[in-house]
Every structure is written in structure tokens, then in C-alpha cells.
Symmetry: C2
Subunit: 334 residues, 2 copies
């Protein structure tokens, strides 16, 4: 069923059908209704290829993320898809892992599908060596690139992020002000936002004349493995006689690892040791005791980001960076 069939049945030209299709106001109500009726009757749907071929736009946005099964990224993808759809855009998802070569590869694939823009979900897309970001700049020459949770300055690149530095700084400071002195920081990422969080912790601790105790746990495929690893590492620290009365973690899963560690050694949380996680995910609530966690406003970020893409594509002026503050959600571990 094509525009030609409809035009024939309705006794009008294909141009008129097209006008009705695109809501042009240069069609008389009577004609419009006639065409609409025929369309309905035939349950006609326009062919996206033909339209795309002419317009060179697909009303489709490419979403790239390393791993959409990660609780946090999954939530981001979900919000993005929802908001985009409300604005009339479809989303093509591409999970590209953490390797640069794959990122480039998958990005090209997406581009060949004629997406109107690309959203990079997660700070792992921005490398510290700037030459590794060439693929972003290249793509941005043709299509706007939106980045969630990373800071990258380049033409036609727009970032939405949470102030992870400030959030971690404040949370750590709050622990200190409530009398904690030996605060361990457990983290699993050195990405842009990863290092911001780390810096927030370090500055807070140093400013108050305390010392940094950090444990780095390398990224593993299963987050549950990282959780268990965190438990083990803290146990080791404990065995070595390292004192601690608080743990701040860069992810809820790691914070749960800390809670598990405390249970294992029979320490009380929060009386003996306080724990703060990050992301305010379901893990925070599932824990016993429930986890105090930093909420980095994912929904807000996604909403803003989508509003930004749409604006950019409509040719409007859009800020190159949008920054929200994090929120400390207090529960039982502090």
C-alpha cells in the first residue's frame, strides 16, 4: 500500500496525500477527511525508507552504551528511550563494550543507518588521551553528539552531567563532620566521572587533615563479582589492621560489598562503620541495613539531554554543558 494507491482511491494526487500525511494546512478539510478515511480503511503506513531517502533524516537517534545490562546504564537507556519517543524519535541501541575499536566500529554502523544524532551513555566514552576522542569530534562534524555523564568540549558536542565531584565531596564531608575519621574509598572506575568522584573524596578528606585510604577494584563483567571482590579487599585491609569507621563507594554494588564485609566480621553498621553508596539504585534498598546513597539525578539528566537533542536538531541554540547537583539520600547505613 503506497501513496499512489491511496491517491487513486481517494481521487486526488499523491502530493495531496503527502500533504495530509505531513499535516500541511494547505489542504481543504473535505479533501483531508477523504484521504484520511482511505488511509484508515487500508491501514496504510508510510514507508520510512522512502521518506528518509528524500529527507535524509530518520527521526531516529543512536544510543551507544558499553553494557546495557548494567543497572545504571539500563535505567539511562530506558529513560532516554521514553523521552525520545515522546518527542517522536525512535532509538537504535548499540552496546559496544569498553574497547575503542568497537566504539568506532559501532558508531560507524549507527551512522550508516542515518541516525540524526548519537547519544553516548556513560563517561567511559571520553578517553583521557585526546587522540582517542577523535571519533567523537569526527562524528560531531556531521551530527550532534550528546554525552551523558562526561565532560567533553568540542564543536557540536553537548554534555549533561551530574556534579559527581561535589556530590562525593559533600557526602564525605558530612561523614567527617559527624565525627568519622578513618574513611575508606572503594571504587572501580577511572573514567571521567570515576575520577571526579575520587577527587571529591580526596579533597574532602585532605581539607580536614585526614588521610586517604583508597581501594581500586578493576571492572569485571559481572557486577556481583565486583561486589564480592570489595568484600574481600576490605577484609584484607581489616586483617592488616587498617582502622576504618566509614566507607564511601563509587557504586552501590561496592557499597553492598562493604556492608557484607561488616556483617562477616560482626561489625555494626552504622554504629561502628558508616557506608555510603552511589547511584541510589535498587541495590541500596535491597540491602539490610538499607544503604545511604548518592542519587545522581539520572532521570533529570536524561530528560534534559533529550530536550537538548531535539532542540539542536530543530536548529535552536543549546548550552554545551548542563550540570545538575547530586543528592544524598540518607538511609540506615549512616
Amino acid at each position: 500500500m503506497t501513496i499512489y494507491d491511496i491517491s487513486k482511491k481517494a481521487g486526488v494526487s499523491i502530493a495531496t496525500v503527502s500533504r495530509v500525511l505531513n499535516g500541511s494546512d494547505k489542504v481543504s478539510p473535505a479533501t483531508r477527511q477523504k484521504v484520511l478515511d482511505v488511509m484508515n480503511e487500508c491501514s496504510y503506513t508510510p514507508n520510512a525508507f522512502a521518506r528518509g531517502l528524500g529527507l535524509n533524516t530518520s527521526k531516529t537517534i543512536g544510543i551507544m552504551c558499553a553494557d546495557s545490562s548494567d543497572i545504571y546504564l539500563a535505567k539511562a537507556v530506558y529513560y532516554l528511550e521514553q523521552f525520545l519517543r515522546k518527542k517522536g524519535y525512535d532509538s537504535i541501541l548499540s552496546c559496544c563494550g569498553y574497547a575503542l575499536a568497537d566504539k568506532i566500529n559501532y558508531m560507524n554502523l549507527l551512522l550508516s543507518k542515518k541516525v540524526d544524532s548519537i547519544i553516548l551513555v556513560g563517561s567511559n566514552f571520553v578517553a583521557s588521551k585526546d587522540e582517542d576522542n577523535t571519533y567523537i569530534r569526527e562524528t560531531a562534524k556531521k551530527h550532534p553528539v550528546m554525552i551523558l555523564n562526561a565532560d567533553y568540549a568540542a564543536d557540536n558536542v553537548y554534555c549533561c552531567m551530574c556534579d559527581d565531584y561535589q556530590a562525593t565531596y559533600s557526602a564525605t564531608r558530612e561523614l567527617i563532620l559527624s565525627g568519622r575519621r578513618d574513611i575508606v574509598y572503594v571504587y572501580n572506575s577511572t573514567s571521567f566521572s570515576g575520577s571526579k568522584k575520587l577527587a571529591g573524596y580526596m579533597d574532602a578528606v585532605k581539607t580536614h587533615g585526614l588521610k586517604c585510604i583508597t581501594e581500586y577494584i578493576s571492572k569485571q563483567f559481572e557486577p556481583s563479582a565486583e561486589l564480592l571482590e570489595a568484600t574481600e579487599r576490605l577484609k584484607m585491609l581489616h586483617r592488616q589492621g587498617v582502622k576504618m569507621d566509614a566507607v564511601v563507594a563509587s557504586e552501590d554494588s561496592l557499597a553492598l560489598g562493604a556492608v557484607k564485609f561488616l556483617t562477616r566480621i560482626g561489625a555494626k553498621c552504622p554504629e561502628d562503620v558508616a557506608v555510603i553508596g552511589y547511584n541510589n539504585s535498587i541495590l541500596a534498598v535491597s540491602s539490610e541495613p538499607e544503604l545511604t546513597s548518592i542519587d545522581n539525578r539520572l532521570e533529570l539528566l536524561c530528560k534534559q539531554l533529550v530536550s537538548n537533542v531535539v532542540n539542536v536538531l530543530d536548529g535552536n541554540e543549546v548550552p554545551s554543558k548542563t550540570i545538575f547537583s547530586g543528592l544524598l539520600v540518607k538511609r540506615q547505613t549512616t
Copy 2:
């Protein structure tokens, strides 16, 4: 950069360029190389719209799920995307919620994008009233429909599922054989797989002359809310004097609710009460004690499903149903 530009630069016709593009063997090696060189030099990528317009196929699969932020569904989407990409297909994601009207709506949107097939993730797509499944049958007339975790028999519909009935039956029976007598079942879904699980529990309990104690918790937007609700419900049951020495749950989150309940009332797990969850998600490991959980072989299911779509699209014969057995992963709560 189009096929015309390339043909001009290479001094051949567009037909030849097209042949090279599609790996036809009716091109002389010399010509092929010449064309390939020009393509490389210009870093040419074919236009997906133009190709799609001619061929009426997009090498793209539509993935529909109610909510991709659900831990389980997110994982499924992830696996599907990965496996599809390996086979050269892209995925358009569509999160359509639980309302029938939206399902239909979003499915039409996907179809207008000319996806080659549609994958329905989760048994909530199959309604018990068969008239509500008309949209599936209609779509299947034109495109193969693949369903993950539900059983629906119709032309051109292919299902991959886990034997949820058997898995729950076996798990419950194992509890009974180890001496448990008062087994509570907590669930939050009456979808196809939801009712299979329920039936598995009920049959196991009845077969052994024990009585059913079930608690239904209605679906809520935040899984953490369901978790807390489970805790409350069990507390109420407990206050009413209902005896229980085991809890089987239809989801890990609900099982964690049970664990939380036990902690709250000071009961020991598994000594006083055993707990079994479902999905073997990260929640199972994050819990303290760690949760025994039924693994419903998601990765395997997704792999099989993708292999099935590809085969159907290639015109090969494919079984209409593929069923895997669940796996009880024993941890500390039993």
C-alpha cells in the same frame, strides 16, 4: 558521497559499483579492486535508506519490552542486541509499558520502520484473552514474531522459553524433601510465566499433602517498592500467626524482601526459614546471606532466539517452540 560519485571516479558504471558492494562474483578482480580502492579513499558508506527502499528490508530487528530498566529485561535486551549484532542485524528498542493500546501503537511504529522481525521480550505480551493477542497474529502475517519467555501458538510466531513450571516445582519439592512443611509463595505477576511458576509451586506442595500459602504483590514501578511490600506482607502473615519455614519467590527482589523480613523479626535464614528467589540476578549475590535462586538461562534463551530469527529470515525451517530447563543455584539461604 554516492554510488554515482564512486562510479565516476572509478570509471565504471553504477551497476558495477553496486555489484562490488554486494559481493557479486560477476566482477573481474581488476575492476573490483579499482572500485574498492576508490571507496576506501572516499571512505564511502552506502545509504541505508536507498538500499532499504529497493530491497524492502533493513537488517534491523525491533525489540519490544515493557520496561528495559527492569534488571531481568535489561539483561535480555543486552544479550539480544549482542547476538543480533554478531549476525549483522541492528536493533531498534521500544519500551512500551504494560498497556495493550501502547503495545499495539509501538508495534506499528516499529513496523513502519521496516524492521525485519519483532522480538517480544517477556511473557506479559501474551494475554490470556486471545482477542488481545490479535495484534501479534496480525503482525506475524507479514513478519516473523519471536517471543521470549512466553508460549503462544500461531503461524509465523516462534517462542523460546524456560520451563518455569518445572523449575519452581523442583525447587519447591527440594525444600519439601529437606523437611520444610510450611512454604509460602510470594509473587508479583500473573503473566504466562508468572502463572507457570505459581502452578509449579502449588502442584509441588499439593502433591506432598501440604497446603498453599500465597501472597500476591501487585506490580509497581520501582522494584524496590515491591521488595519492601513483600517484607510488609510477610510481617503481617507472621503477626497473624501463620507458620512458615520456607519462602519461594517469583523474583529475586521479592526473595530479598523475605530475607529482610527475617532479619527484622530476628529469625535465622536458612535455619528457621529457607528462601529461594528467581532469576539468579545480581540481587541474589548482593544479599546477606546470599540467595539461592533459580537461573532461567537467559543467555541461552537469547542466543537460541537470535539464531532462530536469523534462520527464519533466511527461509530455513525453525521449531515453533524451544524450551530450556531452569537451574537451581544454591547459595546460603537454603
